[in-house]
């Protein structure tokens, strides 16, 4: 089927969601190719073999040093056209969504996004997409090739036993459009390392905009402390500067799966949901009875968190003392 998987990397490591998509692709197609675009990334390419890549293409150019989408569109458009790839798969991220969309316009190729599965059906490829707040599942297809797909992050786990043979690595050149290199990185983010990671916590208490003010995060912190858990936040409050980025759960933040997730003042939009939906037990406290989070909480309490959360903290403390 000639499948190409875009392998995203950060700080000299291939990213897990990309490797997960690679492992999945290898189940569907024995002969999967991975592609690594960057500067000084040749070493990374060979890592992809065990996760399922039979071959890895590398474009190593200074124009690809910063994680910006447009030069990547140029490089991929050349590769997909020259080599005749029928399917190009991306693990969804801020960068890869922009790359996939740009490639869609460049090649006039269909792009389906937010897919949670890929199956072969009647000789073609079908993607599964939860839509309308996951209330309906849509089977999506492509009417032409190449087919482009963004897979919801965290859908597939990387499997390091997918292949026992090392991938063959081939280096390629690329040409860049002027407009593609017009945007430049002034200052690039680096993964923060302070504090324990929320990804390992058994209990997470998370706060959203419904807290009303940054100082109300202390309610969340006190409950987390009483439960021996970690504090998390939504994108809205992180962007507003109420809480540090390292604690953000959701599409552009961390993906967590604690045994217990307590959501305080979080509406539960899809951006947040994808980061925490695999938690063992989800409890939500929100004053809006129509908040989407109630649709996927094991227990939802409609009420004022300013009253419920301190009381809850007190009850938990009594029980644990």
């Amino acid at each position: 089927v000639a499948t190409l998987v875009f392998l995203e990397h950060h700080e000299n490591e291939l990213l897990k969601p990309s490797l997960g998509v690679l492992s999945k692709a290898a189940q569907l197609d024995q002969d999967v190719t991975g592609v690594v675009l960057g500067s000084g990334v040749k070493e990374l390419a060979s890592q992809a073999g065990e996760f399922g890549a039979a071959k890895v293409l590398v474009v190593d150019k200074p124009e690809l040093e910063a994680p910006l989408p447009q030069p990547r569109v140029d490089a991929l458009a050349g590769i997909v056209s020259d080599r005749g790839f029928e399917t190009v798969l991306f693990a969804a991220s801020v960068l890869s969504a922009d790359v996939a969309a740009g490639l869609s316009a460049r090649l006039q190729a269909g792009l389906n996004w937010d897919l949670t599965d890929l199956v072969e059906q009647d000789g073609g490829l079908v993607g599964k997409r939860p839509a309308l707040g996951d209330s309906v599942y849509v089977d999506v297809g492509w009417s032409t090739e190449p087919r482009l797909a963004l897979i919801r992050a965290g859908t597939f786990d990387p499997d390091p036993k997918t292949r026992s043979v090392e991938a063959s690595v081939e280096e390629l050149d690329a040409q860049f459009e002027d407009f593609s290199t017009a945007a430049t990185m002034v200052e690039q983010a680096h993964a923060e390392s302070e504090g324990p990671s929320i990804e390992d916590a058994d209990v997470i208490v998370a706060g959203g905009r419904g807290l009303g003010a940054p100082e109300n995060f202390k309610l969340v912190e006190e409950l987390a402390q009483a439960l021996g858990g970690a504090v998390a936040a939504t994108r809205a409050v992180v962007d507003a500067g109420w809480y540090p980025y390292a604690t953000q759960v959701g599409q552009t933040g961390k993906t967590v799966s604690p045994k217990l997730y307590i959501a305080c003042g979080i509406s539960g939009a899809i951006q947040h949901k994808v980061g925490m939906q695999s938690s063992g037990v989800i409890v939500a406290i929100n004053k809006d009875p129509n908040a989407p989070i109630f649709e996927y909480s094991d227990l939802g309490v409609v009420g004022d968190l300013n009253e419920i959360v301190p009381k809850l903290t007190e009850l938990v403390r009594q029980r644990r003392s």
Binding site: A105, G110, W113, P130, Y137, A182, A183, E187, L299, K311
Partner: protein, 256 residues
């Protein structure tokens, strides 16, 4: 500065997919995509700081006028509605073809988008339009700084915040954390009616009919199905015992 803001008219409630056409049912009441309101607000702030004009661009059924009017009431100067029966059912490629043609004619310095479409959850259109218009793009912008001939956007990614600079003209997709949108004033609402609102068809834009709508789309909907069962969800009103109920619930499951 001439700023174009692309907005989408999305169904307000009772959202469902028509089992016949397998398209989103757009027959009910609609409203401006809430994410796009932040893009309108940001455009108005740039205009207030630096002068210029704000043009609202939308593609959709005639009902999309409602969304346009809201943006005009907030303070935008004029609007362009691409409306054509042939555009119904457009996917990303087809929508990009039509929208890019309209934006190219308007020749804005900055083209703003909201962070995602509230109905399709798509967060892709700006990068596709940027490629078609051969303009630089910065997405997920949580802070924006416009200076002479260039823009600087603080982009949130999975790793934190990047600072990216691009020359003007440029395309920007702004996050909903970038600002608190204003409410239209009574004067704004009254004044919106007299602001210029143009309507164009696809042929007026020079877009071939095989490049839009279902015929211009490269993706298909094969089937619809119910989601897998979620398991039991319990929702209670807090009558003063909410905290006790939560404790009981988590104790029963041995989580404390």
């Amino acid at each position: 500065v001439k700023i174009a803001v692309c907005v989408k008219h999305v169904p307000e409630q009772a959202r469902k997919i028509d089992p016949e056409t397998k398209r989103l049912d757009r027959s009910g009441e609609g409203a401006i995509n809430p994410f796009d309101v932040h893009a309108v607000e940001e455009a108005l702030k740039i205009k207030e700081a630096r002068g210029g004009e704000v043009l609202i661009v939308t593609m959709g059924p005639a009902g999309a006028q409602d969304s346009v009017r809201k943006a005009l009431a907030m303070g935008a100067d004029e609007a362009l509605l691409i409306t054509d029966d042939a555009a119904a059912g457009s996917d990303l490629v087809a929508t990009t073809n039509a929208l890019a043609a309209a934006l190219e004619k308007e020749g804005a310095d900055l083209i703003l988008f909201g962070q995602q479409a509230g109905d399709s959850d798509g967060a892709v259109l700006w990068a596709a339009v940027a490629d078609r218009l051969r303009l630089p793009v910065i997405s997920q912008v949580a802070e924006l700084e416009v200076s002479y001939g260039k823009v600087r956007g603080k982009r949130q990614t999975e790793f934190g915040y990047d600072l990216i600079e691009a020359p003007v003209p440029a395309i920007l997709a702004v996050s909903d954390a970038i600002n608190e949108p204003r409410y239209p004033s009574l004067k704004g609402i009254m004044g919106a009616r007299s602001k210029p609102q143009r309507t164009v068809t696809l042929s007026e834009l020079g877009v071939e009919s095989d490049g839009v709508g279902e015929s211009g789309s490269k993706t298909t909907v094969v089937a619809l199905s119910d989601p897998p069962p979620r398991g039991d969800t319990v929702k209670i009103e807090d009558d003063g015992s909410g905290a006790e109920r939560i404790v009981e619930f988590i104790v029963e499951r041995k989580l404390i």
